[in-house]
């Protein structure tokens, strides 16, 4: 934090603020560490929250340099307010998968099982990205799910599944990987029909535009993408 301000040398240095979707908290923490190691004298501050929260915060004048959203809708809100410097670029995709409690007590085998009556299924509300993706799959497969709860975030779905409250939930592949064994995955092929794309952009009020661009490049670079792959994200 006590670093001198930028442009003290050829390499940009200083403190930069990255607003990233909560689902990115694992890989982006690692990304930031690597980036700091590659750019001595820089600090990457990470603000994780739901994409919609982040969009509101940015619109309210948050001092963000970079915004990494979990969907296009919230990115469009930011871009629509003229706060995006340039076009947002996709840097990762995420696919839905079925999370079940350890041991899969309800014996879920595929997406069609979720439509069966009597299943306690939890998914995201359509208003949030993961819910929108699920709706697209429902439409594509013709399977209609009657969820017992339409959560406002993936975290909510995970919590219900991990505690065994729900028989199954629709979450991202990355969430299952991150959950460290508190839920198990039941993969299903139809997931490919609703891929969620994560865009990233530098913001117009960025105080460290060069650093921001460097960071975005790093996310797109080989090492950056490796980190995302490890967390379960796909290439855009």
């Amino acid at each position: 934090a006590g670093n001198p301000p930028s442009s003290s040398g050829p390499e940009p240095a200083g403190e930069m603020m990255v607003f990233a979707a909560a689902s990115l908290s694992g890989p982006f923490t690692d990304l930031a560490e690597e980036f700091e190691a590659d750019h001595p004298g820089t600090t990457v501050r990470l603000n994780f929250a739901g994409s919609a929260d982040l969009a509101t915060q940015i619109q309210s004048g948050a001092p963000a340099d970079v915004f990494a959203s979990a969907d296009g809708t919230n990115m469009d809100k930011v871009a629509g307010s003229g706060l995006a410097a340039g076009d947002p670029v996709p840097f990762a995709v995420n696919t839905l998968t079925i999370a079940v409690p350890p041991g899969n007590p309800a014996g879920i085998t595929g997406f069609n099982d979720l439509g069966e009556p009597g299943r306690q299924v939890v998914m995201c509300a359509e208003q949030v990205p993961c819910g929108a993706a699920a709706a697209r799959i429902e439409a594509a497969t013709g399977t209609e799910i009657t969820p017992v709860s339409e959560e406002t975030s993936v975290t909510g779905v995970l919590g219900k599944v991990a505690s065994g409250e729900a028989d199954a939930g629709l979450v991202y592949v990355t969430d299952v990987l991150a959950s460290a064994g508190s839920v198990e995955e039941v993969a299903f092929p139809e997931a490919a029909q609703a891929v969620n794309t994560y865009p990233i952009v530098r913001l117009t009020n960025a105080r460290q535009p060069e650093l921001a661009d460097d960071f975005i490049s790093f996310v797109h670079s080989g090492p950056g993408q490796d980190i995302l792959r490890k967390a379960g994200f796909g290439a855009p």
Binding site: A125, G156, G159
Partner: protein, 263 residues
């Protein structure tokens, strides 16, 4: 005729402004042209109605559990009372999400009482019952605090007189204690009701969010924010208005009742 130093008035003014400006700001954000359609959409009305219904039931539960708790804390001496009181007041300071998780681990299928409830055929999670439990959990301490305070203020002298006149504990409670603390009970109930109305985190973590069943007004607001900030702001204002009315009522009833208990 007590006077207050000027800086006290200034600081009080500053405090009031600090608390009121955000309300003004949110009011200023409202898209008034769309206000009525936004707050009368089907999902908004469903959420409002669910909130009012669950808050009413929860408040009733708070009274039924909270008045006895307050009586025990105000009137009895027993070892460990201080610890019990600290624990009872905990939900007041616990982040509601943590409270919701804890409820999940208690009443959920895999929870502490899961087996028992399963045998009884009771399914709490994802039902309106879960909303009521979450609200009761966070609002109960408000009621206990208010009623305990009223009980301490009222003192035990009237109760002692009633007992010497031959009134058993039940009669004393019904005919003397409760009428005497009625103002405190009313204001506690109203505060609890307001807290139930505003409950968000514990409900989200424990009960889920399904329109008409578990999605109360605060959850609806949170969800609307994802897509329609105008609707979220409009609904927030509805919530603020209901809360103001309810808290205002609480103070009306308190001050109207105060003369009943004279020290």
């Amino acid at each position: 005729m007590i006077q207050l130093p000027r800086w006290v008035l200034a600081a009080a003014g500053l405090g009031t402004v600090f608390l009121l400006l955000p309300l003004a700001a949110i009011t200023a954000e409202v898209n008034w042209g769309q206000f009525i359609p936004l707050i009368t959409s089907e999902s908004s009305l469903a959420a409002l109605s669910l909130s009012l219904r669950t808050a009413t039931v929860s408040t009733l539960l708070c009274v039924l559990l909270g008045v006895p708790l307050a009586l025990v804390l105000a009137r009895l001496r027993f070892p460990g009372k201080r610890l019990v009181r600290a624990l009872v007041l905990l939900p007041l300071v616990l982040p509601p999400v943590v409270g919701g998780i804890a409820l999940l681990y208690t009443f959920g299928r895999q929870g502490l009482l899961g087996g028992v409830l399963d045998v009884l055929g009771i399914q709490i999670a994802f039902s309106t019952t879960a909303v009521v439990l979450a609200q009761t959990f966070v609002a109960l301490p408000f009621l206990v605090l208010s009623v305990e305070g009223a009980l301490r203020t009222a003192g035990t002298r009237y109760e002692a007189v009633a007992a010497t006149l031959g009134a058993g504990p039940g009669t004393v409670l019904r005919r003397v204690t409760v009428p005497l603390v009625l103002p405190g009970l009313a204001s506690g109930a109203v505060l609890s009701f307001a807290r139930c109305l505003g409950e968000f985190g514990a409900t989200l973590a424990f009960a889920g969010s399904l329109e008409g069943v578990t999605r109360t007004l605060p959850l609806e607001i949170y969800l609307q924010r994802e897509t329609d900030a105008d609707a979220a702001v409009a609904l927030s204002l509805v919530l603020v208005a209901v809360a103001v009315v309810v808290v205002g009522l609480s103070y009306r009833s308190t001050s109207a009742g105060t003369p009943a208990v004279r020290q």
